[in-house]
């Protein structure tokens, strides 16, 4: 995968208002492949925990017969975590604040993932 395409994908997501950062994470390893994060975000911690969360949720969906995972939206008191599977065993992760438009962020994430294919 060409690094320039990863940067373009992250750039697309981080341009959405309220997005504090985006990362491409190796799903199996939980390691950061590429990132564009605001200062103060612990990228390695988010990557490891988000990959673990996606794996466990994926298993739960599988067990429930719901098919493969498409998108995860986790809302917390001060922000949101958005996850979307990406090609080559990666996971696109976006961190937003409370005011971010999740619908728009999801659309941009989808197009970013398509750009990586």
């Amino acid at each position: 995968m060409i690094p320039g395409r990863m940067d373009a994908a992250l750039d697309r997501v981080t341009r959405v208002r309220g997005v504090r950062g985006a990362m491409l994470v190796s799903s199996d390893d939980g390691l950061v492949v590429a990132d564009a994060l605001m200062e103060g975000v612990r990228g390695n911690a988010v990557a490891a925990l988000a990959a673990s969360l996606a794996t466990r949720l994926g298993r739960a969906m599988e067990a429930a017969g719901a098919g493969e995972q498409r998108f995860v939206h986790l809302a917390a008191a001060k922000g949101k975590l958005l996850l979307m599977p990406a090609p080559a065993g990666m996971l696109l992760v976006a961190l937003t604040d409370q005011r971010a438009n999740v619908g728009l962020a999801r659309l941009e994430m989808q197009q970013a993932v398509e750009g990586l294919s």
Binding site: S26, L31, A45, A48, S52
Partner: protein
């Protein structure tokens, strides 16, 4: 299964690390291979072998690092389809220590690395001041080693 330790201050940090990462085996030891804590091993001979091999890997990698004029050895990771092995060196109030961690496919190197950072901080916070020691004699070393192994498998 509980962590077996030579000194009680090691229990909580090691058990937290195992709980958070889901590691199958964990060994905390000195760079010389003297074991301070273990989790998951059932036989003393396995602990001795793993400690000797881990210390040997750290020593030989450290020598390569030295030849390359790089800073000291910090960590190594081996990944196979079913298991991963992480070997990390860290500084503690008791001097340099090594952590050898074997983990399965239900966790990841990202999680192990993340909680390894927490383990190092937890051990630094929990460690009592180092005891004053006299000169190390061969007879004392063998006695200490046997006492440590007896404690770890009591």
């Amino acid at each position: 299964m509980k962590a077996r330790v030579v000194e009680p201050w090691l229990v909580e940090p090691v058990e937290r690390f195992v709980r958070e990462t889901g590691a199958r085996l964990t060994l905390i030891m000195t760079p010389a291979g003297q074991v301070l804590a273990q989790y998951g091993f059932t036989r003393a001979v396995e602990v001795m072998a793993a400690a000797a091999l881990g210390a040997g890997i750290a020593a030989s990698t450290g020598e390569i690092v030295r030849m390359l004029d790089e800073p000291a050895f910090r960590a190594l990771n081996h990944q196979s389809p079913t298991h991963g092995i992480f070997l990390g060196h860290f500084d503690s109030p008791r001097g340099g220590l090594l952590a050898l961690v074997v983990y399965g496919a239900d966790t990841s190197i990202g999680l192990v690395q993340l909680f390894f950072e927490d383990l190092v901080a937890d051990l630094a916070a929990a460690a009592p001041p180092p005891p004053t020691r006299g000169p190390v004699l061969a007879a004392d070393f063998e006695r200490d080693l046997n006492e440590s192994l007896a404690t770890l498998f009591r």
